[in-house]
């Protein structure tokens, strides 16, 4: 069963889908654009914190081992297939295993994990509803069809259950052999199809009765762009530009091969990166402070 997370808890999900989309797009793209170990580590920590916040610590730990396996595979394959770098740790057969390729492997594995983690945050906050309201305006017919599909799927599952229970119950739930059960499955599928088709005729009638195809359709957006969305959008845009400059001008100067060399004098700039990554968490913090005074 799909876990349904309590959306109401997260302040970020109240923001306009454009703001949410901009945030995740920038965070994911930046995570993909740099292999700088400091930035990769930062992205990992921030995404882990946010994911813990959204899913709960236990749920996060459960999914962590998959990430660790990915990390292991990526860094091992880099060590084995890549023998650039000068600091040799040891040899396997004739092959030198270097420190640089180990770090490079961990960083690229970490990058992959970060993208995955950010995507899981994205899928919790950016629901299908939000996605549709953001992009539905571009292709309204498809948005409408998707909305119909989203109604249709749970409805059909419920009907399948209903048919199954009803038919079992009619015969007092007698034990049946495999062959009858198999046949029953086929009849279930066919009667589900028939039922759905029958119902869709009625639905089509109802659509026409409510004036579908009677003229040009407009597209209603349930979301409004509020003052806070504007403020957030501006803040986000500014941080994104700053970070783009930092990442492409400074962070990507990190050199792995042949020896790791890096100018650490400007490392404090990664604070801006942290601000961007933690933006939703900062909003949550602000929200908790605002609510604090109503607590006993």
């Amino acid at each position: 069963m799909v876990m349904i997370y309590n959306m109401k808890k997260h302040i970020f999900s109240y923001y306009h889908s454009a703001v949410i989309f901009l945030y995740f797009a920038s965070v994911i793209i930046f995570s993909m654009c740099t292999l700088n170990p400091v930035f990769v580590l930062l992205s990992f920590l921030c995404s882990a914190v946010y994911l813990c916040y959204l899913k709960g610590f236990k749920q996060y730990i459960k999914s962590l081992w998959i990430y660790l396996i990915i990390l292991l595979i990526v860094s091992l394959s880099n060590i084995i297939f890549n023998s650039l770098g000068l600091t040799v740790l040891f040899y396997i057969g004739d092959k030198p295993i270097t420190f640089e390729s180990l770090i490079y492997g961990i960083c690229s594995g970490g990058m992959l994990i970060n993208v995955l983690q950010w995507f899981s945050c994205y899928s919790i906050i950016m629901t299908s509803d939000k996605f549709l309201s953001l992009f539905g305006g571009i292709i309204p017919t498809i948005a409408m069809m998707l909305s119909m599909v989203f109604r249709y799927i749970p409805d059909t599952i419920r009907k399948a259950n209903q048919i199954n229970t009803a038919q079992n119950a009619l015969l007092g739930n007698e034990k049946q052999d495999k062959k009858t059960r198999f046949n029953q499955g086929i009849t279930l599928a066919s009667s589900l199809m028939e039922w759905s088709m029958e119902n869709s005729i009625e639905t089509a009638d109802c659509m026409r009765a409510r004036g579908y195809l009677s003229g040009k359709r407009s597209h209603y957006k349930n979301e409004r762009f509020t003052l806070y969305d504007t403020v957030s959008l501006i803040i986000l845009l500014i941080i994104i530009i700053i970070n783009a400059l930092i990442i492409f001008i400074y962070a990507n100067k990190f050199v792995f091969y042949p020896v790791i060399s890096y100018n650490i004098n400007f490392l404090w700039l990664c604070i801006f990166y942290a601000i961007l990554l933690l933006y939703p968490m900062l909003l949550e913090g602000r929200e908790s402070l605002a609510c604090l005074r109503y607590r006993l």
């Binding site: 909305s147 109604r151 749970p154 119950a169 007092g172 739930n173 109802c206 409510r210 407009s218």
Partner: protein
Amino acid sequence: MSAVSFINYHFTYPNASDYTLKNINLTINNGQYILICGPTGSGKTTLLRSIKSEIAPVGKTQGKILIMDTNRDDKINKKLAVKVGYVAQDPDNQIIMDSVWHELAFGLENMGLPSHIIRRRMAETAAFFSIDSWINKKTYTLSGGQKQILNLASVMAMQPDILILDEPTSQLDPIAAKEFLQMVKRINDEMGITVIISEHRFEDILSSADRVIFMEKGMIISDNPPKIFVKNLFNKNNSFCITLPAPIKIAKYLGESENYPLNVKQGRQWLNKNNIKLKNSNNNIIIHRDRKAIVLQAKNIWFRYDKQNDFVLRDTSFELYNNEIHAIVGANGSGKTTLMNILCGVYKPSRGKIKKQSGLKTGLLSQDPKALFTKDTLYEDLSLLKDKYEYNDNDIQNILNKLGLDKLSQRHPFDLSGGELQKAALAKILLISPDILILDEPTKGIDGIYKAQLINILKDLKLKGKTILIVTHDLEFAASSSDRCSMLFDGDIICSDTGKEFFSSNMFYTTQTNRMTRGFIDGCIIAEDIKHE
């Protein structure tokens, strides 16, 4: 200006030999509340759908229909979709979108309205129908009653002048149905919108309708205010009389022939005025039951669907005795259907035990008969289990004749009307002939004539030694059919009593007869109990 007028209208379905609608002449004025009634298959739905050009049945027509004084079929008249709102029977199939707000917006989007006007209309409508608390929900999480209110609201958001409802409450439980009909009444009262409704549930609607149009075999037999309609129906001794609400039947029995009381309030006033000495012919027989006669027993059942949810049943115990008709009543969501499914073994309880007398077979007839049919014709479907349950073509034919389904045996089950389908499902379980028959909401969507027939069938089965368990919302039906009644509340059986005892000790949860005669004469449950002294 009249809202709707039919002028010499005839209608024939393709391939049908006879008229479905015959010589309809009808004028409905603006702001009227019109009830259309008649036995199943009298052409009510065809008549109602004919008013709305988008969904009007296709076939041969004669005469014409005017909507707001313009011809229905005028091609120029595209705005008619907006003028006439239509709500059908099935709450599920009319929902189009996945979320409530989108469903409300759907019709308005079709009208091409800009977002800010849609938002405003949505807000207004949501407030009027008090759906604002669930406007952000997904539509598949709603209850049947909520779905139907949403359908009504989405139609009303388009601001129609005429509202057409085709048996809108037949799939709802009585509480939800009352709520829905009150909404419809409000729409008519507060906004003066013309309402044309066909409905089985007379007791909630008869006293508020302006006119009652009675149809039979595609013709309009009478078109009168409710009181005159009732009087004429009795004068003609029409078989449809049986479907009238209890206060009317009681007054008729006690000698009224002019001014019939239409609801409980009027009934009490009528009793007060006429001051008739009454007698209760209902002898409360106390039946002592032997514990050995228990055929099916649930002992301290606990049940829930999954660990995240609350328990649906909490420590429920229940006994079903041999050869009795037992009714379980209770509100929606009190766990009735769940208990049924546990009793016949489809669900396994989390805790507790089900004991069944060995060798007895159970069979449950589920609420939605559509779930039971898998073949292309009714006859084929009924013969499906022929070998396994040892019945033959003769038995099928007998049962079809008995239930009046013989003419429909070659139809596709899904082409049957709601009531016919319910009968067909009953035929199916009667052929399998289990020792313990469990019926879940057998009166859903059926009219009073079939209801009376069903009571006879059940009593007949009891004589043949079967044990019957009914789950129902329909208190009138429970009172007139059952030997014992139980009430399920909040996951537990609160009380079990012999039927008469059960209803006469309740004040709210009881039949119309009991509510009407309380204080005048106690202990009367169904109209037949009341006698002259």
